[in-house]
């Protein structure tokens, strides 16, 4: 398929301005005649739904949780980047753009990233006006901190709950619109299929999670802000409900899936403690501002950390990367943790952990200031592990956290299905092969508040969208497909629970398509996954009925989709014969063990077209060109 990114040309500084001017507008009186569906109420979906309603569109908004306030953006801790340069430390829109393209290991689209950096400043203004209680200095001005992959302080934060506060801002804007009738909200409602009529996205099929009722909703455009697919690994920092179903089923209806193998492993999570473990908990990357990462110099050192003298500790990040030290980007920090653990120098019972030590910071700054900065994170750590991080170093290990891949979108955030827009983590667009810390919140809100509400007008204004109703054949076909899958899951009555399959799939993915990958391992996974998938559909055990609240059934549908996605991720990882960002292929590394990109052959976005379950998908390539930031080996030394 020919992929047209619709990226504007000319000077990058004015691309977005000029592009916005070239887009058609819809007059305010006419906006009322158009319905837009928004699926997902995180930072991207929530802000988009509120903003579209403010503009005058009729919005129908859906989430699977009991309230739009619960979307997983709420769990983001550390902060949100913006190129305000309030600290006079050399920051600028261009530097944020540069850092993001470099941090993404030169696998993102320059035009998109520049626009993201530009609107970052508007996001902070908008959120302050909404009442987001960002941290302040005594003078009353906004405070900042620094994050991995940057040498300036551009991260705005609200204690360790920045995602929560930004989401509440978007949620409150959304509730305001619900209150005045601009948005019709459907909580506890899950999208199970996309309705495509005459080649255009015209609606969705949903299941009411309380009654099991299958319904179709029609509209002039559909927006997916349904988040990432990290739960394909079973254990991840995602919420238990986070899933790929909305984007995967849109993919099966024709939307291309881009760079599925680009997943981010977050370096600072609480290590796994047992096989009952249901999820992993992240400790914000902001901790690396003051915490020092180390392992013992000796293998299998049995001493508790307090008894290991300074000269027998290896502060390996500071040693290997003197200029960025503990603030190297996530992919680099994660990989290095794996390396020292593979060398047998890991700590804790499982030996799959490294120390994150605040001893020096507490001596330097006092426990009071550390408590003010990270108090809630320290409490959370103590609650989960039963250990006090003020006294002993934290034990941390990498975990799946974010997926840079997602549905392919053009500069307007429209997928390959006309009328289907994809925003936030659900799309692939801005982070390349690795996302920098505090950039997910920025991208979600940039898409929802500032980009999509501008670009979607152009589609509505320039397309004839004849009225359709639910008796249309395409609607009936989508509904019957959904009903059929549910029926099959309920009637299988096999012997194994959904979770047991999901755990097995997750382990395969973590072992062979996780922090480091090999052609051999990926080929093995590509044999195992389809076999496990077939077994799943033969042997899964889902009790209860379809016409009631049935949490096992909800999970079962989602895991079914994860199986198909997992196969695509492995295939994509196998095809990409290079290492870049979060995608580390052991065969492709420099003498010093750093990722070795191959720009000559792989400077493209891999976009996959669905060709039926078990059939090889078709690969289309969107070439990436770099006019401003010239690809070089990323160095944080």
């Amino acid at each position: 398929m020919e992929l047209n990114s619709k990226s504007p040309n000319g000077p990058i500084e004015t691309r977005w301005e000029r592009h916005k001017f070239s887009l058609k507008l819809v007059n305010p009186a006419n906006k009322r005649k158009h319905t837009i569906i928004v699926v997902g109420t995180g930072l991207a979906g929530g802000s988009a739904a509120a903003t579209l309603a403010e503009l005058g569109y009729k919005v129908k908004c859906f989430c699977f949780q009991d309230s739009p306030r619960r979307a997983h953006s709420i769990a983001a801790q550390g902060g949100i980047n913006a190129a305000k340069n309030y600290h006079n430390d050399g920051d600028s829109v261009y530097r944020l753009f540069y850092d993001t393209v470099k941090g993404g290991d030169f696998r993102s689209r320059e035009s998109n990233v520049y626009r993201l950096a530009q609107v970052s400043v508007n996001i902070i203004d908008q959120c302050v006006a909404q009442g987001v209680p960002f941290a302040r200095e005594y003078s009353g001005y906004l405070d900042n901190r620094s994050f991995g992959g940057a040498q300036v302080s551009r991260t705005f934060y609200a204690r360790g709950q920045t995602g929560q506060q930004l989401l509440l801002g978007a949620y409150q804007a959304l509730e305001r619109q619900i209150g005045c009738g601009g948005v019709q909200m459907f909580p506890r409602t899950e999208m199970l299929d996309l309705i495509v009529i005459d080649g255009k996205a015209r609606g969705i099929v949903t299941r009411n999670l309380l009654t099991g009722q299958i319904e179709s909703h029609l509209a002039d455009a559909v927006v997916l802000g349904t988040g990432g697919y990290g739960n394909v690994y079973y254990l991840s920092t995602n919420a238990k409900g986070s899933n790929t179903t909305a984007i995967w089923r849109a993919h099966k209806r024709g939307a291309l899936f881009a760079n599925p193998c680009f997943t981010q492993i977050h370096p600072t999570c609480i290590p796994v403690s047992g096989d009952y473990q249901s999820k992993l908990t992240l400790m914000s990357e902001s901790l690396r501002n003051d915490g020092r990462v180390w392992v013992p110099l000796k293998k299998d050192d049995p001493r508790p950390p307090s008894q290991i003298p300074e000269n027998e500790r290896d502060y390996y990040l500071e040693r290997r990367y003197p200029s960025f030290g503990n603030l190297v980007p996530r992919d680099v920090a994660s990989r290095n943790a794996k390396i020292v653990c593979d060398e047998g120098r890991g700590v804790g019972e499982t030996k799959l952990a490294v120390y994150l030590d605040f001893r020096d910071a507490i001596q330097r700054l006092g426990a009071g200031l550390i408590k003010e900065r990270y108090g809630n994170l320290f409490n959370m750590y103590e609650r989960i592990t039963g250990e006090d991080p003020y006294k002993a170093p934290m034990r941390i290990y990498p975990a799946i956290h974010y997926t840079m891949g997602g549905l392919w979108v053009d500069y307007n955030l429209m997928s390959t299905i006309p009328g289907l827009y994809v925003i936030g983590e659900a799309n692939f667009s801005d982070h390349g092969a690795n996302r920098l810390g505090a950039s997910a919140l920025m991208q979600g809100l940039a898409d929802g508040y500032f980009v999509l509400p501008n670009t979607i007008n152009d589609y509505i204004a320039s397309n004839k969208l004849p009225a359709v109703d639910i008796s249309h054949g395409a609607v009936k076909e989508a509904e019957s497909q959904v009903t059929c899958v549910i029926k099959r899951l309920l009637e299988t009555r096999g012997t194994r629970t959904v979770d047991s399959f999901h755990r097995e799939l997750g382990k395969l993915m973590w072992d062979y398509c996780g922090m480091s990958r090999t052609a051999e391992g990926l080929k093995y996974a590509l044999e195992q996954i389809p076999a496990l998938r077939e077994q799943y559909w033969r042997d899964v055990k889902v009790l209860g009925a379809g016409e009631e609240l049935n949490q096992s059934l909800e999970k079962a549908g989602r895991v079914g989709d994860f199986f198909e996605l997992a196969e695509l991720m492995c295939l994509d990882a196998l095809e990409r014969n290079e290492s870049c960002g979060g995608h580390f292929r052991e065969e492709y590394q420099t003498g010093e063990g750093e990722a070795q990109r191959d720009d000559e052959h792989f400077s493209y976005v891999a976009a996959w077209e669905f060709r039926g379950v078990g059939n090889r998908p078709e690969l289309s390539k969107e070439p990436l060109t770099f006019e401003y930031v010239h690809p070089a080996q990323r160095s944080y030394k």
Partner: protein
Amino acid sequence: MRIVLHIWRQRNASEKGRMVRYEVPNVSEHMSFLEMLDVLNEDLIGKGDEPVAFDHDCREGICGMCGCMVNGVAHGPLPGTTLCQLHMRHFKDGDELYLEPWRARAFPVVKDLVVDRSAFDRLIAAGGFISVSTGSAPDGNAVLVSKENADRSMDAAACIGCGACVAMCPNASASLFMAAKLSHLGLLPQGQPERDRRVVGMVAQAKQELFGSCTNIGECEAVCPKEIKLENIARMNHDFLKANWTGRGLPSDEA
């Protein structure tokens, strides 16, 4: 360790519920409370019994989705902790625990431990926001906020909307939930223009939703996983009285 559970099982809102006894052997002290329920559910499915329905999502104590009464206390015995962050090391071998859904007329039971908290969303829609449409904001540093007010606003904004305060209150009052939102916005300069309307709108909605009134018992503060302070309710009452006194914020026909 072995834990004995008595769990409220109720098929749906219209059928009658009852307590059912279960045993979970081999509970590890490192498990979270919800992981123990996962283990129970896996076991139930294995036996062909329907698993216990309970709400949960982030399992990091921030989304506000989880929660039930454990031996009569919302979110269980540990102060300042959601159910998902409560670990089994706080229990001992042989403990008997009674799990019930949130108890409040405004939160009808959906199934087992799942309740309908949509009344909270309607409270927010009735005024719990600052009306600023996208694009109209001045520079972030144009409005100064004293650190003290920013910090106190943040203390209140930490509310996760779980509903424990309502479940624990003998009056099933939503005062702490509303007061947290009113303090969050009312302590900031950006929140001043709508301060009167906000409190009047939210209090009126609470009445419609059949939440009770506050009689300063303080059970809400005691179980709040985010330790939201009772003083917020005093601020809400102050704002409400002031709005009524001055007539500001009241719908125009009542003023």
